[in-house]
Amino acid sequence: MANPLFRISLTINGQPVQADVPATLRLLDFLRYDLDLTGAKDVCGEGECGACTIFMDGKTVNSCLILAVEADGSELMTIEDLSHGKMLNEMQQAFVDYHSVQCGYCIPGMVLSGEQIIKDHGKPDRDTIREDLSGNICRCTGYQKIVDAIEFAADKR
């Protein structure tokens, strides 16, 4: 029996989107391959690394662990929506200024988790930042400069 398609309607980065998707399609694949929003990365595929982090209804989630059909009716924000044209937002600029980026693969997720940390804690201490970044893995930088950048962006906001 052919797998039927499901109609989903959602808002992505402020734009209404409608699509017919198979039940098995992951939200991450929908974003990357159907919509060409490649900021969220596909790395571990099991919710350990956080490279696929996006905002869904105002909260960070791993888009590799969500089916596109589950996201029906929700409001998504991806890393692509954070900058204004070529103007980086404060968090992104802090990552540049603090040299927090090496290979860069984890960074979209790190930046969005940084945004969530400010949302949850305002001006968090370093332990809180580290604790709440535990769902994002970086294999290059040793985290020091990432934590520096988030701390700076939080202080500035």
Binding site: M1, N3, P4, F6, A23, T24, R26, G45, E46, G47, E48, G50, T53, M56, K59, T60, V61, N62, C64, L65, I66, L67, V69, E70, D72, S113, Q116, D120, E131, D132, S134, G135, N136
Partner: protein, 286 residues
């Protein structure tokens, strides 16, 4: 991954989907944080997923105060638990959620999913067992049956749930008013976060104004086939004065907790280590 999906929106549609598929292989999808990795790893032939994410039934999706206690819908997320004002009086539960996975996973993982996955290492499940919570199970004929969480788990990844049933909610019964509360969750792991417990202890102990222990609930995780309620350790504490517990009392309590531990050695820790660390943390809470 290959499966078919049914997305019921009402409880009637849900019950119908369960009845229609009794002869088939189906599983429920709520937060999907375990289901997707499992299915990516190993395909299940002919699988039908009954998707609960679209279900609109507040018994499943909300946390509310009722006459008999605080009811937590099976589909409420860990983030919902953290931000709920009624649940702040149970530090054991809040600490268990805080130690659970990552911020991203807490946004979608559900309380019911943690219980029904029935991992011996389930953090939130362990806290709920310590609190004496009761599972409320919806049967396909529309009736509800209740099972105390102390009897809910039957083995590694197995529960009392039958094929025509699903978990609707858990009830934390109202507790006697307490002067003091000693409540928390200790999770031993190799690192602080994103960790599966090597051993864990959930405790919620209350006293009256004289320090006499009026209720005690403790449960252990990752040291037996299932999460276990450590009944004799709880009974040992009842009626004792919290401020006058001797070294010997504390050790007897820890000995009692250990009666429920039957740990295995595996890649994460040896049985010996789990025994030792459980005894130490048990003694340390008093």
């Amino acid at each position: 991954m290959d499966f078919r999906t049914i997305s019921p929106q009402t409880t009637e549609e849900l019950l119908e989907a369960i009845k229609q598929n009794q002869g088939k292989h189906f599983r429920f999808g709520a937060g999907y944080t375990d289901l997707i990795p499992e299915l990516e790893m190993q395909m299940e032939n002919g699988l039908i997923v009954i998707n609960l994410a679209k279900l609109k039934d507040s018994n499943f999706t909300s946390i509310f105060l009722s006459e008999d206690g605080i009811r937590i819908g099976a589909l409420t997320t860990m983030t919902d638990v953290l931000s709920n004002k009624h649940l702040q009086k149970f530090p054991v539960l809040i600490e268990a959620v805080e130690s659970f996975a990552s911020v991203q996973i807490r946004s979608v993982a559900t309380v019911g999913g943690n219980l029904c996955t029935a991992s011996p290492a389930g953090d939130v499940s362990c806290a709920l067992v310590a609190l004496g919570a009761v599972s409320e199970i919806l049967i396909a004929n529309g009736q509800i049956r209740t099972v105390p969480l102390t009897e809910f788990f039957t083995g590694v990844k197995t529960t009392v749930l039958k094929k025509n049933e699903l978990l609707r909610s858990v009830l934390i019964p109202h507790q006697k008013s307490a002067e003091r509360i000693l409540s928390g969750f200790i999770k031993i792991g190799n690192r602080n976060s994103m960790e599966i417990a090597l051993a864990s202890l959930a405790y919620h102990i209350t006293t009256d104004k004289n320090g006499i222990i009026t209720s005690a609930g403790t449960a252990v995780g990752s040291v037996a086939e299932t999460i276990r309620y450590t009944e004799s350790a709880c009974e040992f504490l009842l009626g004792k004065n919290m401020d006058q517990l001797s070294e010997e009392d504390k050790e007897t309590f820890a000995d009692n907790v250990l009666k429920y531990a039957n740990p295995i050695s595996d890649i994460r820790a040896s049985a010996w280590y789990r025994h030792q660390v459980l005894w130490n943390i048990s003694k340390s809470i008093l």
